[in-house]
Amino acid sequence: MEEVDVEPAITNIPAASAGTHLGFAWGPGDILVYETLYKASGAIGSGCPCIHEVRKDEDIYSPILRKLFNESHHIFVGLQTIGEDLPSKNKKPQFVSISKNYRSVIRACMEELQQVVSILLAIELIWNLCEVLFIDAAPAGSLLLHLLDWVRLHKADVDEKAREVLQSESPAEHHDYWNVVVSYVLQGRLEEARQMLVKQATLQPAARSMYKLMDTLLSKMPFYNPGGTQTLTEFDVKWRHWHEEVDRCLQDNSFASNKHLEVICKILVGDEDTLLEHKDLLSTWYHFLVTRLLFCHPTVKPTELHYYAQSCLTMFLDSRSVPEPLDSILLAAFEFDIHQVIKDCSIALNNWWFVAHLTDLLDHCKLLQSHNLHFGSNLREFLLLEYASGLFTHHSLWQLAVDYFDHCPEFGRVYLELQIERVPLDTERKALKVLRICEQRQMSEQVRSICKIMAMRALRNNRLGSALSWSIRAKDAAFATLISEKFLQDYCARGTFSDLDLIDNLGPAMLLSDRLTFLGKYREFHKLYGEKRSGEAAKLLLSLMTAKIAPRSFWMTLLTDALPLLEQKEVIFSADQTHELMFCLEELTSLNTTDEDTELTKVELLRLALARNLARAIVKEGTVEA
C-alpha cells in the first residue's frame, strides 16, 4: 500500500522577531509554544513575549460532537458484546443493524449542527456505501437496488424541487417540470415519473399515444426482486427484452417529435452521452455511475463495480477538475480496497472518530486481514487507541475512553494505566470516580498513586482526617504513621482530637501501622474514660504501654492520663497493675536524662500517686468481705 504524500500543514505562531527559536512543552491535549534562543554558550536575549497554547483542530469541545461521541460509545460497547458463539452469517443482520445505528447517530447530529453538515454528510455517504458493499455485502441483483437507495438518500433536492413544481398553479408548465421528471428517471423512480407525466399528457391530448407509449415503457421496466422466486438469470432475460423494446422505440423515432420524451427514452436505453448531458441533474459521478448501471447493467456483480466506477469518474470529471479526497475514498470503496478507504479517511478527516468506529465494525465482520504491526497490534486497535487517547484529554469525555481501552486487548490496559493517572483530581468526587475505574480493573499501582496524591494534598492543607483516610485507602503504612503522629502531636498541643468520627470508625484499617493502631486505641481509652468505664479504661491504658503499642515518647502523656484514675475515691488500678505502672515509670525515667523542673515535678507527682494507690489497692485486696 503506498503512502499518499501529504505535505504537513503549517501553523503560524505570532512571534516577535525572526531569528529566534521556538521552545515547546507537551500538555494534556495541547502544546505550549514560546519564543526562546537555544545556544550552547547560554543566550541572553531581548524581553520576552508570550506563551501560546496550540491545539489540534479536532475540537472535541463542541457540544454537538460530544453528543456524537456519547451516543457512539453506547453502540461501540454493544457491538463488542455480540455473542461470540453465533456463526458469522447469523451475525450479519446484527452488524447491519449496528451500522444503521451509527448512521442514525450521525444524522441526528447533522440535524443539530447545520454548519458542520458538509463533513457529516460526507462521512455518512462513505459509511453508507461501506455498509452496502462491505457489511451487507449485497450480491448481484440486490447490489444495484442498494446503490439506488444510497443515491436517492443522498440526493434530497429532487423532492424539494418536485414539491415546488407540484405546488405551482400549472405544474406541467413550471420551468423545472422536465428537470424533475428527468431526475426521477435518473434515480429509477419511475412510478413518480409516470405520475408527473400524466400532468403533461393531459395538456397535450394530441400527443396522447406518445405519452401512453412512454407510460407503458416506464411501467414495464423490470426491477429485480431479491425476495421473489425469479432467479437473477431470469430477471436478466426479462430486462434485456425490455431494453430491446425501448431501443426499438428509439430506432423507429416513436418520440422524435417530443424532444423531452426522446431524452427520457435515450436515458432508459442507457445512452452515455445523454446521461452526461445531464451532469447538472446528476451532480456527482457516483450518481452517474449508479444511473448508468441501472440502465445498462442492472445485474452488475460486486467485483465488476470498480471498472465501471473508474470509467464513470473519468467521464464525468472534465479535464480541468481534479478528483477530491471524497472521490478517491469512494473509488477505493468500489474497488473493495478497505484498507485504502480507511487510510484515505484517516488522512482526509482530521479526527479519528470515523475511522476508529468504522474499522472496529468492519473488524467485527471479519473483513480486515490482521496485519502484524510493529508492536504486535493491529489496525483496529491502533485506531481505537488513537481515538480514545484523544478523548482522554477532555474533562468529561475521558470516561468514555475507558471502555474503548478495555476493548483493545494488546495495549488497551497499558494505555489506560498511563493516561488515567493524568486525569486531574480536581475534586474528591472526581478522584473517587477515577479510583473506582482503577479498582474495577485491579490497577493497584494507580489506586495507590492516586490515593497518595490525595493524601499528600490533604496533608499540605492540614486536613488530617482526609489525609489519614486517603493513606489508609492507599495502604500506605508509612504515611499513615506520619499522619497519626501529627494527630497525636495535635492532641498534645490542644488537648482534643480532631476528626473523631474517622478515628472512632477505623475498624480493621487500624492495623495498617503501629502508630495508627495506637491512635485508635488511645482514642478508645478516652471514650471509655468519658463513659466512666474506668476499669476498662485503666486496663486499656496499661496495655498500651505493656504491649508496646504506645511509642516510648508518649508514655509520659499516658502516665499523666492515668493520674485522674489514680486519684479517684474508688481504687481502679489493682496492686499488680499499679506495680506495672511503676515499672513503666521507672523504665521511662531511667532512660531519660532530662532534668527539666516540670518533668521532675510530674514524675514526683506520679510516684506519689502510684504509691498511694498501691497502698489502697493492697488494703482493698487484702480485706475479707464481711
Binding site: 500543514a9 501553523t11 505570532p14 500538555g27 494534556p28 520576552c48 508570550c50 506563551i51 454548519q115
Partner: protein, 356 residues
C-alpha cells in the same frame, strides 16, 4: 492546529524552559531573568501567575516538577552552577483569596563546578530522586530519603561522563523487566571524541550505575534527549536532538544467567529527519508517545508521528511568523487571551470552516 490562547509571560528576559505539571493544570516557566514563575490554570482555561520569584544568580536553564505524590515540588538548574529544590507552602487564607502561593527553597545543590545544564526527577517508583548534569561532564544523582523533609538530600551517585553534558533523560518505565536506566547527551562538538549519547544502567549487585551503551553513530553535539514512555514494549525508544532529529530503538539482548555486567543492547535507528536543516535543540514525547515534537534552528516546531506500519513522518509544523502581537516585548502587558483560529485543513469536500 491553531493558537487557542496566548499568555503574556511577563519574564524580563528569554524563557528557557516551560514545564507542565503532571496533571496539566499548572505550569512553571524559567528565564534568563533568573526567576521562575508558576502559573495555575483556572476552570475556564485561563492561566494566572500565582508565584514569581528569583531563584538563581544566573540564567535558569530548566525547571521541572516532581511527581504529585511528593507534593508540590519544583527543581531548577542554572548557569550559576547550582540546582535548587523548591516546595510550595500553603499560605495564609488571604493569600489564597488573592490567588497567590509561596514557594520556599528547600535545598541548594552546589556540587557542580560549572553551569548545570539539566535537572530531572527520576521515575517516582525510585523514590524522590533528582538528577543533574553539568558542563563539567558530571552527572549527579541525589536522593531525599525522607520525603517529608525536603531539606535533606544526599548525593548518591556521581558519574563522570568525560564530555560536557547538556541533557539527561530517564527511562520512565517502572517494569521490573529491566533496571533503572538513563541517557546522557553531550554537546561537545568535537566529532573525534566518539559517541555523544551514553546510556547508564543501575546494577543491583554493585549498587552503582554503569555505562551500558554509547551510541557511536551520534558524533555531533547533542542538545536534548528523551526516552519515550514504555507502553508495555520490550524495547526502548530514545529520541535525540542533534544536527537532525533521530529516533533509536534499543533492544535488550538476552543476558546469560552468569553475566553480571550491564545489559547489552542492539541499537537500531528507526528514523532520522533533517527537515529542520540545522541544529535541533529540543525533542519531547507526548504522554502516549504517539507524537514526538522537535524544535530547531529554523525557528520551527515539528511534530512527528508513526503510522500503524511504524513509518514516521512529519504531521505538522509550528512556525514563528515574525509578526508581533500588540503590546509586545519589553513591556509587561496585561493578561490577554487572543483566540486565533488559523485553520489547518485538507482540500476538497472537507473544507476548513468546520472544526472537527
Amino acid at each position: 492546529m491553531f493558537v487557542a490562547r496566548s499568555i503574556a509571560a511577563d519574564h524580563k528576559d528569554l524563557i528557557h524552559d516551560v514545564s507542565y505539571d503532571f496533571h496539566g493544570r499548572r505550569m512553571a516557566t524559567c528565564s534568563s531573568d533568573q526567576s521562575v514563575k508558576v502559573w495555575d490554570k483556572s476552570e475556564n482555561g485561563e492561566w494566572h501567575c500565582t508565584a514569581s520569584w528569583k531563584t538563581h544568580s544566573g540564567s535558569v536553564w530548566r525547571v521541572t516538577w516532581a511527581h504529585p505524590e511528593f507534593g508540590q515540588v519544583l527543581a531548577s538548574c542554572s548557569f550559576d552552577r547550582t540546582a535548587a529544590v523548591w516546595e510550595e507552602i500553603v499560605g495564609e487564607s488571604n493569600d489564597k483569596q488573592r490567588g497567590l502561593s509561596h514557594w520556599i527553597k528547600r535545598t541548594t545543590l552546589v556540587d557542580s563546578r560549572t553551569s548545570v545544564t539539566d535537572v530531572k526527577f527520576a521515575p517516582k517508583h525510585m523514590g524522590l530522586m533528582l538528577t543533574t548534569c553539568s558542563a563539567d561532564g558530571v552527572v549527579r544523582i541525589y536522593e531525599a530519603p525522607d520525603v517529608m523533609n525536603l531539606s535533606q538530600w544526599s548525593l548518591q551517585h556521581e558519574i563522570s561522563c568525560k564530555l560536557s553534558c547538556s541533557c539527561i533523560s530517564w527511562n520512565p518505565s517502572s517494569s521490573r523487566a529491566h533496571p533503572p536506566m538513563f541517557a546522557v547527551g553531550s554537546d561537545d562538538s568535537n566529532v573525534t571524541y566518539g559517541g555523544k549519547v551514553q546510556i547508564y544502567e543501575y546494577n543491583e549487585n554493585t549498587r552503582k550505575y554503569a555505562k551500558a551503551e554509547t551510541l557511536m553513530t551520534v558524533t555531533d553535539a547533542v542538545h536534548d534527549i528523551a526516552f519515550a514512555p514504555n507502553l508495555g514494549r520490550s524495547f526502548h525508544v530514545l529520541a535525540i536532538a542533534t544536527k537532525d532529529v533521530r529516533i533509536f530503538k534499543l533492544v535488550p539482548m538476552r543476558k546469560e544467567s552468569t553475566s553480571t555486567g550491564p545489559t547489552k543492547f542492539e541499537v537500531q535507528i528507526v528514523a532520522q529527519f533533517d527537515n529542520h536543516n540545522s541544529q535541533v535543540w529540543r525533542v519531547s514525547w507526548n504522554i502516549t508517545s504517539t507524537l514526538l515534537a522537535s524544535s530547531g534552528d529554523d525557528g520551527c516546531v515539528r511534530l512527528w508521528k508513526a503510522n500503524y506500519m511504524d513509518n514516521w513522518k512529519c504531521t505538522g509544523i509550528l512556525k514563528g511568523d515574525g509578526s508581533p502581537l500588540s503590546g509586545s516585548s519589553g513591556q509587561p502587558t496585561a493578561m490577554s487571551t487572543v483566540v486565533a483560529i488559523l485553520g489547518y485543513q485538507n482540500q476538497g469536500v472537507f473544507k476548513a470552516n468546520i472544526i472537527m
